[in-house]
């Protein structure tokens, strides 16, 4: 099979989630049919991309039959019968149910790690339960870099996921399994998590939409913590309307997460005269001003990324946007600040994996004690990258280095946030910007193995994404173009907005999409 026909077979189009849900709600199709179709696609496409760690065909079909019964009984659900994939750092427990019905999904939550290889959670993540409550059907749990630490999905303990557009290349990471499951159109919608770009970068590599919501929009209850002040759950989808629907479904204030904001479900739809996020998204913005930082044109960008950035700027100008040059000088310090803060929080969060309360427990030699049990269980259970970040975090938090590294990074974090605040507020040299545009990654998907031996090189891939997490802002990757040479790989651009203003990002994305289709 030639390259193009093989890639086409792996990414062949499917109906959008909102179309599936409309058909199921109107009883023109059944949830069992949409689920069966997804399981058929899984059977034909999964072996080439390895996106999933676990699949639930029986539970999914049982669940679909229950959804069909609820529709027959007169209910209408925003994601009725929509097959979805869930990143394997979101827990699914035996309690996953709608009133009176148990589907028996259960299953493991591994975080891509040997230390949680056989871990079964007693409860379900709030974001997953909200998808279920909206009528979605879970097809399976997706592969990821271990504990979400990585940008390529090569750091999973279990398998390497492949890019659906070219299987010799990575899908990105850490939500690479979710991105590949959507990019291959096995499912139209998936959940990922984003600590430093883990939704937006794989969305770019796989040619789909991916939203990292404002910190506090989506409950982190049931998301296995990597860096708690940065982590956020978000949707990934082939279709922008599907992304908007999923965003509205999962964003809610949750008493189980103290950092879930009281504004989590606040959308200001009235201004657009709409009753839902997807309707409000259709309303274009007049007087749109987009800031493009000088740093987005880094000389280290792949030339195709800079070309696609320029193409996107030209598209925005054609639809009447004012594109203004701005400066985000702290971009050059983002990676350093991020890897200090994230590693510090990771070293604390991952201290819970000790071989005692859950996860893998090492066998001991005679005479060995409790500390040996901790050390052996963790050394056997954690992969190299996770061990590296735990040690880095322990070092920057240790006596004597705390001020020099951790506190310095927290001060830099404030300056990074102020950079964005200034751009959204406007200055004497430029108007207030509705959003900032920059690439989602400095290059397209790289080859499997190309960067796995140099940790710093892989960290530098996150240059355009980490600032958004440090500042707590929303970031949306939109599919924007392709590499010029073979293999043809997708390239995404990123829109960054004010806190709690995802709607503006969705409206801009809709304007860009509409300009490309007319």
């Amino acid at each position: 099979m030639s390259h193009s026909s093989r890639a086409d077979a792996l990414t062949a189009h499917i109906p959008a989630a909102h179309g599936m849900a409309a058909a199921v709600n109107a009883r023109q199709a059944s949830a069992v049919e949409t689920t069966r179709a997804a399981l058929d696609r899984l059977a034909s496409r999964e072996s080439a991309i390895d996106a999933f760690l676990d699949t639930f065909p029986d539970a999914a079909l049982r669940h679909a039959a229950i959804i069909d019964q609820r529709i027959a009984d007169g209910e209408s659900l925003p994601l009725a019968g929509v097959p979805v994939a869930i990143k394997d750092n979101l827990v699914i427990g035996p309690d996953l149910h709608t009133p009176g019905d148990a589907f028996g999904y259960g299953g493991r939550t591994t975080c891509g790690s040997r230390i949680l290889e056989n871990y079964h959670s007693p409860f379900t993540a709030t974001s997953v339960q909200r998808l279920i409550d909206a009528g979605a059907i879970i097809i399976g749990k997706t592969n990821m870099d271990e504990f979400a630490m990585g940008s390529s999905c090569e750091h999973s303990a279990f398998k390497i996921t492949r890019n659906p557009h070219e299987p010799a290349h990575v899908p990105g990471g850490s939500s690479g399994g979710s991105a590949a499951a959507v990019g291959s159109n096995i499912v139209p919608l998936a959940l990922g998590s984003d600590t430093g770009g883990s939704i937006r970068q794989p969305a770019s590599y796989c040619g789909i939409y991916g939203l990292k919501p404002t910190y506090g929009r989506v409950s982190r209850s049931g998301l296995v913590a990597y860096a708690s002040s940065l982590d956020q759950v978000g949707p990934m989808a082939s279709d922008l309307s599907d992304l908007a629907i999923a965003t509205q479904v999962i964003c809610a204030t949750d008493p189980l997460d103290s950092t879930s904001s009281s504004r989590a479900a606040e959308w200001h739809l009235d201004g657009a005269g709409a009753s839902s996020l997807v309707d409000a998204m259709a309303s274009p913005i007049t007087g749109l001003a987009i800031g493009v930082p000088a740093q987005a044109r880094s000389a280290s960008n792949h030339p195709d990324v800079t070309r696609v950035l320029n193409d996107t700027i030209a598209s925005l100008q054609r639809i009447g946007a004012t594109v203004v040059d701005i400066d985000l000088p702290m971009t050059d310090y983002g990676i350093a600040a991020y890897y200090i803060v994230a590693a510090a929080e990771a070293s604390s969060n991952l201290a819970r994996f000790d071989g005692i309360r859950y996860g893998r427990r090492a066998s001991l030699e005679p005479g060995q004690g409790l500390v040996d049990l901790y050390c052996r269980s963790r050394s056997e259970g954690f992969g190299k990258e996770v061990q590296r970040r735990i040690m880095l975090g322990t070092y920057v938090l240790s006596s004597g280095y705390y001020d020099a590294y951790y506190n310095t990074a927290l001060k830099a974090r404030r300056l990074i946030k102020q950079d964005f605040d200034t751009c959204f507020a406007g200055t004497s040299s430029h108007p207030a910007c509705h959003a900032v545009l920059m690439p989602a990654a400095p290059g397209p998907a790289f080859k499997i193995g190309e960067k796995s031996s140099d940790p710093l090189a892989l960290y530098l891939e996150d240059v355009y994404t980490v600032g958004v997490n440090l500042a707590g802002l929303p970031g949306l990757t939109i599919p924007a173009g392709w590499t010029s040479a073979l293999p043809r790989l997708p390239i995404g651009m990123q829109l960054i907005g004010r806190g709690f203003d995802e709607l503006t990002l969705l409206r801009i994305a809709a304007m860009v999409r509409n300009s490309q289709t007319t």
Partner: protein, 108 residues
Amino acid sequence: MSAHFSSRPDPISLDEVRKVASLSRLALNDAQLQTAQHDLAAVLDYMTRLQSLDLKNVQLLTSIAGENARLNADTPGPTLTNDQLLAMAPDTMPPFIKVPKVMGEGSA
């Protein structure tokens, strides 16, 4: 340990890596310690770029949730049961989690 990371020719010594591994509760052999030293040195060296920033009058940004963070009412709520917690543990003697001896000669 030095109080500042400026002008250090060797960002992290092998002894410091050994100490950090111990604090991290990781058991590394000599080859792994040397690899860790090489990798951590490269990353820590990269991080020295932060010292070029003027941070004298900058406050720490300790929480991004800020005013949006909420406190729950101080009342008991539903919790996981003893059985649910034990089901997650790798080695148990209900209603307890089993651990090796803490003092003296321990065994699994």
